[in-house]
């Protein structure tokens, strides 16, 4: 670099949109690490999250040729991979849910503008909710959490998990119904 000048103005042309080459992969990691880590840490606990997140991105890197930008957002695709990997750790997920039911999330979650009422009832419902979630069929739980935690649309979930669009809705309804039934007489919105 010392004293070398080979530069003249050249317009920077961006890569083909959506293409996932090695360079695009690094950008993807930078952009999505935070939310994928949050999702995995929520479901499997912070102690094991890093390994699963690394596995998620490594799988994505290996399968990058199969990623089709016209079918799914890259974000939904990553959530799909993470969800499949989480599925291999059912006992860990069950243990994490038991801990969440007992103690609540470890992080001091910032108090957003939730009403006090919701917070209080949420607090008392915590153990019931956690065990109800643990008892759901894994596939139903996956869909529910991809909506509730990841904020994916039904269409994104269908592509991410490789299931028909209609199945997303039926799994989601079944999951919500079971949770409501379990939480019993307490009136819950949503």
């Amino acid at each position: 670099m010392t004293g070398e000048t080979i530069a003249m103005p050249v317009p920077w042309t961006a890569r083909a949109p959506g293409a996932l080459d090695a360079e695009g992969f690094e950008e993807l990691f930078g952009r999505c690490f935070g939310e994928i880590h949050t999702y995995v840490a929520q479901r499997l606990g912070p102690d094991h999250a890093e390994d699963i997140v690394a596995e998620t991105f490594f799988t994505a890197f290996r399968k990058r040729a199969q990623y089709d930008p016209s079918r799914a957002s890259v974000r939904a695709w990553l959530y799909g991979i993470a969800t499949n990997l989480i599925g291999k750790h059912r006992r860990l997920e069950a243990r994490t849910l038991r801990a969440l039911g007992r103690f609540g999330p470890e992080a001091d979650s910032p108090g957003h503008e939730d009403s006090v009422a919701v917070r209080v009832s949420a607090q008392s419902l915590r153990p019931e909710l956690a065990s109800a979630l643990a008892e759901l069929d894994r596939r139903d739980r996956d869909v529910l959490l991809l909506v509730a935690l990841a904020g994916l649309t039904h269409e994104e979930i269908a592509t991410a998990l490789g299931i028909p669009y209609g199945t997303v809705g039926s799994r989601l309804n079944r999951a919500r119904k079971k949770l409501r039934a379990r939480l019993g007489e307490v009136r819950v919105h949503g």
Partner: protein
């Protein structure tokens, strides 16, 4: 209902070092995968490098160990292909390319127009032309390299900069790049700044050193591939992003 579920799970934030740890784990695995078809000694070197950089769990790697690890990878990197090719992005907008062959021919490209370089070498060190043959004849022993490079410099304070230039702006032999990394590891003025991302979001380890002008120059390197990712000067100086640096059979186009 969704709100209750979100509330149950909370928002576990990643530990500040988490991102870098995961990236390193990933980069090491990608590297091992790329090497899987190569000869065993190369794989062994890569594994040794992983151990050197990452050391005992929970222990932060030192500046020296990162540079030495990069040296180990540099040694085993490939140097076949007809053209030495560097593609850089200046200040995020201007792209420039250079191709050079072993017999001394060279081309630059700007605005998609390729120009043959004639009458001078495309390489220089501290403002003086450096021929391809001179670069090839650099010693691969760190102490000898340091001595040779020092002798070529008008100002000894340019040593770190000149050595680092051998890592990416010149077609140095793998053994010479390794020696340059080792020589840099022993320079007290080279400061390790920790894990950083370049302006394109690529993760690496940052090192900085001063130039005689007082400007502080920062390089981000990927110790797993031994590639230099970017070079940035402070005080509003220029930023160079290395998009490509290596040997290829694909000529100027």
């Amino acid at each position: 209902m969704d709100e209750l579920v979100r509330d149950l799970y909370g928002e576990p934030g990643p530990d500040p070092q988490g991102r870098a740890r995961v990236w390193r784990q990933l980069a090491a695995r990608r590297r091992r995968r790329r090497l899987s078809w190569l000869a065993a000694p190369v794989v062994a070197a890569a594994l040794a490098m992983v151990l050197v950089v990452y050391g005992a769990p929970g222990q932060e790697p030192s500046s020296r160990s990162i540079l030495l690890a990069a040296a180990t990878t540099a040694e085993s990197s490939a140097a076949d292909g007809t053209y030495w090719h560097v593609k850089k992005l200046y200040d995020g907008t201007r792209e420039s390319e250079l191709w050079a062959t072993r017999d001394g021919r060279a081309w630059t490209a700007e605005q998609g127009r390729v120009t043959r370089v004639t009458g001078k070498s495309p390489f220089s060190m501290a403002g003086q032309d450096l021929t391809y043959a001179q670069i090839q004849n650099l010693p691969s022993d760190p102490a000898a390299l340091r001595e040779r490079v020092t002798a070529m410099l008008p100002d000894a304070r340019l040593l770190a900069d000149a050595l680092s230039g051998l890592l990416w702006t010149k077609p140095s032999l793998p053994a010479v790049r390794a020696a340059a990394y080792r020589a840099l590891a022993d320079l007290s003025e080279v400061r390790y700044l920790g894990a950083r991302t370049d302006t394109r979001g690529r993760h690496g380890e940052a090192f900085s050193f001063g130039l005689p002008s007082g400007v502080q120059r920062t390089l981000i390197i990927d110790p797993v591939t031994s590639q230099v990712l970017s070079c940035t000067d402070d005080r509003g100086g220029r930023t160079e992003i290395v998009l490509v640096a290596g040997w290829t059979d694909e000529g100027p186009r």
